[in-house]
Amino acid sequence: MNLKANSYRLRQDILDIIYRAKTGHIGGDFSVTDILNVLYNKVMNITPENFGSVDRDHFVLSKGHAVEALYAVLCQKGFFPREDLLTVSQYGSKYIGHPNNKVNGIEMNSGSLGHGLSVAIGMALAGKMDKRDYRVYVVMGDGELAEGSVWEGAMAGGHYKLDNLCAVIDRNHLQISGTTEYVMNQESQEERWATFGWHVISVNGNDVDALEKAFEEAKTVKGKPTMIVANTTKGCGVSFMANQAGWHHRVPTAEEYEQGMAELKAKEMAANE
């Protein structure tokens, strides 16, 4: 699979989902797309066939508002039929605006920030206790880092030396009220996590090759959990959405949809060449 082209393919699906549903968190979806693309298509051992087993990798989307990106990836992986995406956020649908484990492929419900890291720590501890060789992945947002519970998990992950755990911060520098540095300073994440006993890798989180390399490096680390600080662009992929806090959860107009779709298609084609 051409991962780079696929990221733009997935963004088209996300744009479709949100435009149709008239709701969603497009900015964070687009910043996290490359991370989910690489995890599901290159790094993690999670398939519709093995999903019912404990003996496979595990994933928690702690920044649950980026669920549309997860829907796009899971659908492409065959966890549910494409027509299910037509029901996202519609009356009575299980495909709601945050992860819900009634949906095939989703393990844990999220939506309230600051839960996923500690949930993932429980999964990693279970793996250690049972001497299973699965790995656990969790993706957080950077605004989410203001939640105190994140740092309870940071402590426990370092304390228990969970080298089967790899966390990712989608470091797009924007949250609903503005930049993270304006709302609550989140600089120096590398130092913060290193102090808590984590192996830290800082990468361009919209570069699929760099991400893949970082996840491979994490697999080799012993005696420490890994934190990948994925430096991303909110709204990445569509020129007028990039780096705009206003696109946190704005729904595109018909014109914006067409323009965004055209840009993403062109980028997908270019990546395929």
Partner: protein, 310 residues
């Protein structure tokens, strides 16, 4: 007088289960001593997780363990477990439907003189209002054992509250009738039905005997299963009686009294009194001193019965 606290019985049961089942895991938040779980932690260190003073991760980590096949029991003082980690109980346990058993120890006003920070006078309301979360307050050590054995067998989340100190026995080792999610009928009365949970069951039984001596026919329901409430038992007891008294170690807002009142109003209206703690920080004192101050004792129940039957 019995010297074994209900929380010690929980430790005994968990040690028995852990010996047979490597998936049993106990988690504490620097609370192994207060939870009487030190023997467990010492005997089964591989099946014990210490998270430090961090109730939020205590509950989230438990949920993650459950997701990967473990049977976690998160034990922490009820005051912190029911409020500091309430959202983790709601989202990671109940909403995600994980097999996590939350064990709230030293509940109610067990820590009498330590102030409102250490009282869990709202835990029934807090936990019972979460969809999918069950709430149990066993009355004595024999029932606590039966309850823990039953909870081990199921895979749904639940919150269990026990007190700090040993409480007088209600049952005996040989005579402790128990059916999961069914109130235990400790007596049937045609004048007054007393419905109690947790440490208030014993004074309810004492009050029943006192009332009988006065010629007043009283019955008692041990409603250890606060949620799911045994509504059939409430209706049956109320239909027989002229009045209903509910007593609980909990604020009168949103606890067993509120839940019973709802059932009565909808199905079988009866005069009733809901005896509980005030909507205010409670007075300092040992448990019994606090109970006596608020008339949460056999005399208080008898007085309420007299008033209702006037």
């Amino acid at each position: 007088m019995n010297k074994i606290a209900n929380k010690q019985v929980i430790c005994e049961v968990l040690m028995e289960k852990a010996k047979e089942d490597k998936d049993v895991v106990v988690l504490c938040s620097d609370s192994r001593g207060s939870s009487s779980l030190t023997p467990y932690a010492d005997t089964y260190p591989e099946q014990f997780v210490e998270v430090g003073i961090a109730e939020q991760s205590l509950v989230s980590i438990s949920a993650g363990l459950a997701r990967c096949g473990k049977k976690p029991y998160a034990a922490s003082p009820a005051c912190f477990l029911s409020t500091r980690s309430m959202e983790q109980a709601k989202v990671d346990c109940a909403y995600s439907h994980m097999n996590v058993k939350l064990i709230g120890v030293s509940g109610g006003i067990s820590y009498g003189a330590l102030g409102m920070t250490h009282h869990s006078a709202t835990d029934i309301a807090d936990m019972a209002s979460i969809p999918g979360m069950r709430v149990y307050l066993p009355s004595d050590r024999f029932q606590t054992r039966k309850l823990m054995e039953a909870l081990y067998e199921d895979t749904d989340p639940a919150y269990v509250r026990v007190g700090r100190n040993a409480v007088e026995d209600v049952y005996t080792e040989d005579n402790c009738p128990f059916e999961m999610d069914k109130a235990t009928v400790l007596g049937e009365g045609t004048d007054v039905a007393i419905i109690a949970c947790g440490e208030m069951v014993k004074p309810a039984v004492d009050a029943m005997e006192m009332l009988k001596k006065e010629g007043i026919s009283a019955g008692v329901l041990d409603m250890y299963c606060v949620k799911p409430l045994d509504t059939a038992a409430v209706i049956k007891a109320a239909e027989k009686a002229k009045a209903v008294i509910v007593i609980e170690e909990h604020t009168r807002i949103g606890g067993l009294g509120s839940m019973v009142a709802q059932v009565l109003a909808e199905n079988c209206p009866r005069k009733m009194r809901s005896l509980g703690l005030p909507d205010a920080p409670v007075i300092a004192g040992k448990s019994q001193e606090v109970f006596d101050y608020y008339h949460l004792n056999a005399d208080g129940i008898v007085a309420a019965a007299h008033e209702l039957l006037k």
